[in-house]
């Protein structure tokens, strides 16, 4: 099974792990605290017992004397029935009396008369808590020091500590359960807008491109805005496409209607000369129509963002000369002066020759159609550029961008398709070149420049 990455799981992990670590620390601390509290409570017993014993220590018959109060020992044993040990030691550390020779505590607590020391020791295999009282006789003459050592096993302390810990654990566990529950709810609540967004997107009609209207927290609102931007762009693209399709069908319908009308007309007549005339006219129209279809196809292909042709190295000068050679006859027939001015050295770029040829052809054709008398094809070396200048009526700067749209024609009466500049623009984009429309150098006319990226390679 593939464990899919999930925001929910991530949040849960990164919040729960520290929470658990914290809980563990709290339990540890509760345990230490419970032990300390139990020790504090039970150390009071050691204190009381040593005090009760110390009070009975006297100087009698030239020695330390103890009338051991049984209550002092009974004090040390609680309900837990601890084992009890006691001993009295004199100033020299010699055993005076007791039921066990308990070890001395090396620690020194000042020189004050009455001091108490507690510690945990392991004594003959028993874990015991020892209490030592250092005291001195307050007799008339004697100021003898002595030490009362008592010890008992830890059962009572452990029982109390366990009880305290149990109470604390119940508290900590309840807290932890609450915290985890709140955490789960909080994460779920925080991630709810994401679910709403997902549902809103899923619930949409795939054809609608209207923006998402959904109130979301800031982080997701950014995502929503980005999505809406994308949708807006897609809307524009689709509008263009719809217009293009409309225009294209309109463009194709006109010549086809002409063709059918012409054929109908010819069929009504019997004169073969008329037929021939009609056939010639129909031929011209179908040629124009097929050219239009070809242009539409190439434009569609150029508009396809997925289209990534293999670019080859080529010389712009050769290209320009070839284009002039190709179109010279047609121009010459119409009395147009077609010339070429090339850069002194070959201008090499990476590109598709057939596309660039078509672009040049379209530009020359456009110039011819719109009444130019002189058309000049130029190349520049740095930056590599291809330019076609004419002395026709030109285009006013405000309309230049419009001219790049498909089916937009400079004038209504022309028989052009209105696709020429759009195709050139598409070719320029394929080559990463920049297409600009400028005023010609002569003051009137149009100059179309294709500036290719980079220097001459």
């Amino acid at each position: 099974m593939i464990r899919r990455d999930s925001l929910y799981r991530r949040l849960l992990t990164w919040l729960l792990l520290p929470l658990l670590a914290l809980g563990g620390l709290m339990v540890l601390q509760a345990w230490v605290e419970a032990r300390r509290t139990a020790d504090r409570a039970y150390d009071r017993l050691l204190e009381a017992a040593t005090l009760a014993i110390a009070e009975q220590v006297q100087w009698q018959e030239q020695r330390l004397w103890l009338d051991l109060p049984p209550a002092a020992l009974e004090m040390l044993a609680t309900d837990a029935e601890e084992r009890v040990f006691y001993a009295l030691y004199d100033a020299q550390g010699d055993f005076v009396t007791g039921n066990a020779e308990l070890p001395a505590d090396p620690r020194q607590v000042g020189e004050r008369g009455d001091t108490l020391l507690y510690r945990d020791i392991d004594w003959h295999g028993l874990a015991v808590r020892q209490g030592i009282r250092r005291a001195r006789l307050e007799d008339w003459r004697q100021r003898e020091r002595f030490e009362v050592r008592v010890a008992h096993t830890r059962e009572g302390r452990e029982r109390l500590a366990a009880e305290l810990l149990r109470g604390n654990l119940a508290y900590i566990l309840t807290m932890a359960a609450l915290a985890v529950g709140i955490l789960l709810l909080a994460i779920r609540a925080a991630l709810a807008p994401l679910t709403r967004l997902r549902r809103a997107i899923r619930a949409r009609d795939p054809r609608t491109l209207s923006p998402l209207e959904l109130s979301l927290p800031r982080e997701l609102a950014e995502l929503r805005e980005t999505l809406n931007d994308l949708l807006a762009r897609m809307r524009r693209v689709r509008a263009n496409q719809e217009r293009f399709i409309g225009d294209a069908s309109h463009q194709l319908r006109t010549p086809l209607a002409g063709l059918s009308a012409r054929a109908e007309l010819a069929l009504r007549q019997d004169d073969p000369a008329r037929w021939r005339e009609a056939l010639e006219a129909m031929h011209a129209t179908s040629v124009r129509t097929s050219r239009l279809a070809i242009q539409l196809l190439s434009l569609t292909r150029l508009d396809n963002p997925e289209y990534r042709p293999e670019l080859a190295s080529l010389d712009l000068n050769a290209l320009a000369r070839q284009a002039v050679r190709t179109h010279w006859h047609a121009c010459h027939r119409d009395g147009i002066d077609l010339g070429v001015e090339t850069a002194p050295a070959p201008v090499r770029i990476r590109g598709l020759d057939w596309q660039l040829e078509e672009a040049l052809g379209n530009l020359i054709d456009n110039a011819r159609r719109y009444g130019a008398r002189h058309v000049t094809v130029r190349t520049h070396a740095s930056p590599p550029a291809l330019e076609v200048e004419d002395d026709g009526p030109g285009i006013s700067p405000g309309r230049r961008l419009l001219m790049l749209r498909p089916f937009h024609r400079g004038s209504e009466d022309s028989d052009g398709s209105g696709l020429g500049l759009a195709i050139v623009d598409g070719i320029a984009r394929t080559h990463g070149a920049r297409l600009t429309l400028e005023d010609a150098s002569g003051g009137h006319g149009l100059r179309v420049v294709l500036r290719f990226p980079g220097d001459t390679p």
């Binding site: 103890l66 051991l68 009974e74 040390l76 044993a77 009396t97 039921n99 028993l126």
Partner: protein, 360 residues
């Protein structure tokens, strides 16, 4: 300290009547299919006459267990155990402080059975030490004394009697010598804790020139012979048997307070046959063993479900408030304190001779 204990133990030993070097009961194993087998070694300071019914019943129940009982004095018992702690499976003694001390020092292992858990709290310490008998400390009085002065029912009566008729009773009162008898010493220390008037009683004993002896047996013998009219602080379990056979004697359980001693059983940590030991202890504090104690001995059964003759329950019903069992707690350790003993005995001697000193 050690020598101090030794002397004290020696005294206790003297207090145990009929203590002999090697009294022994042996029940060979007679294995029966499906029955537990094994060995069991019991050392006890408990006369054969008391232990025999118990052992017989146990042996009938578990014939597969080879049973050895040695009756020792409390001192040999204690010292022999310390010398070879891995020799014996169950240790029984009437010397409560010494048994307590062994358990306190960690020589016993817990029983942890259902019977042990059900055993009353006041008659056990941890799960290691079990008091399984209930023996009051009593007075034994001769008819002559009752006829002349009435029957002393309490310590107060006794004190009044001694103070009023000291001369008539001179030499006719007998009790333990606490400096020579461990039992007498234990009772003295307990009674002095109960009330300061105990010292008046000691002074009154001194006044009547009370005889001081070592054992209950000695006291009973003197009372039976008529040498003494009143015995004070006799072990009830022994006195009951003698009094029952001698119409001249009467046993009095004082109605203000009566000490109660108990025999303590423990299972040593290094017991060689722990399974048998557990089985025996369970029997001892179980209904059956306790019933044997109630019906066939004078020891007094402790089991809370038993009632009727020979049980703690019956004794409680008749003497209720007055009974003062020796607390099974660390207070017993104080009894063993050497300086404590010296201090108490000094005081005892002083009070006992208070009057004669004043008279001098």
């Amino acid at each position: 300290m050690r020598s101090g204990f030794a002397t004290l133990l020696l005294l206790w030993l003297c207090a145990a009547p009929l203590a002999m070097a090697e009294e022994r009961l042996h029940y060979p194993a007679a294995p029966v299919a499906g029955q537990a087998t094994g060995q069991l070694v019991i050392h006890g300071a408990l006369d054969l006459v008391h232990i025999r019914p118990l052992l017989e019943r146990f042996h009938r129940q578990h014939p597969g267990i080879e049973l050895t009982y040695r009756n020792l004095g409390t001192l040999p018992l204690y010292e022999r155990f310390l010398a070879t702690p891995d020799e014996v499976d169950v240790l029984i003694s009437s010397a409560m402080p010494w048994q307590y001390r062994l358990a306190n020092d960690g020589h016993a292992q817990p029983l942890g059975s259902a019977a042990a858990a059900a055993w009353p709290d006041w008659a056990r310490w941890r799960q290691e030490l079990f008091a399984f008998t209930f023996e009051p400390v009593v007075m034994v009085v001769r008819r002559e004394l009752i006829e002349r002065f009435g029957r002393p029912q309490s310590h107060a009566d006794l004190l009044a009697l001694l103070q009023r008729h000291g001369t008539a009773l001179a030499g006719r009162v007998v009790t333990y010598d606490p400096s020579r008898s461990g039992a007498g010493y234990t009772y003295a220390i307990e009674e002095s804790r109960l009330s300061p008037r105990y010292w008046d009683l000691v002074a009154a004993f001194g006044q009547t020139r009370a005889q001081l002896v070592d054992t209950t047996g000695e006291m009973l013998a003197g009372l039976a012979e008529g040498r003494y009219w009143l015995g004070y602080n006799l072990l009830g379990s022994y006195a009951r048997r003698v009094v029952a056979q001698d119409p001249a004697l009467e046993m009095v359980i004082p109605d203000d307070y009566a000490l109660v001693t108990q025999r303590l059983a423990l299972m040593p940590r290094q017991a060689p046959h722990p399974r048998s030991a557990r089985r025996f202890l369970d029997f001892l504090i179980g209904l059956e063993g306790q019933r044997v104690i109630a019906e066939q001995t004078a020891l007094g059964a402790v089991h809370p479900e038993l009632e009727g003759q020979g049980t703690a329950d019956r004794l409680r019903a008749t003497h209720g408030e007055a009974l003062r069992p020796l607390a099974l707690g660390p207070g017993l350790l104080a009894t063993l304190d050497d300086l404590k003993r010296q201090a108490l005995l000094a005081r005892w001697r002083r009070e006992f001779s208070r009057d004669s000193a004043a008279g001098d």
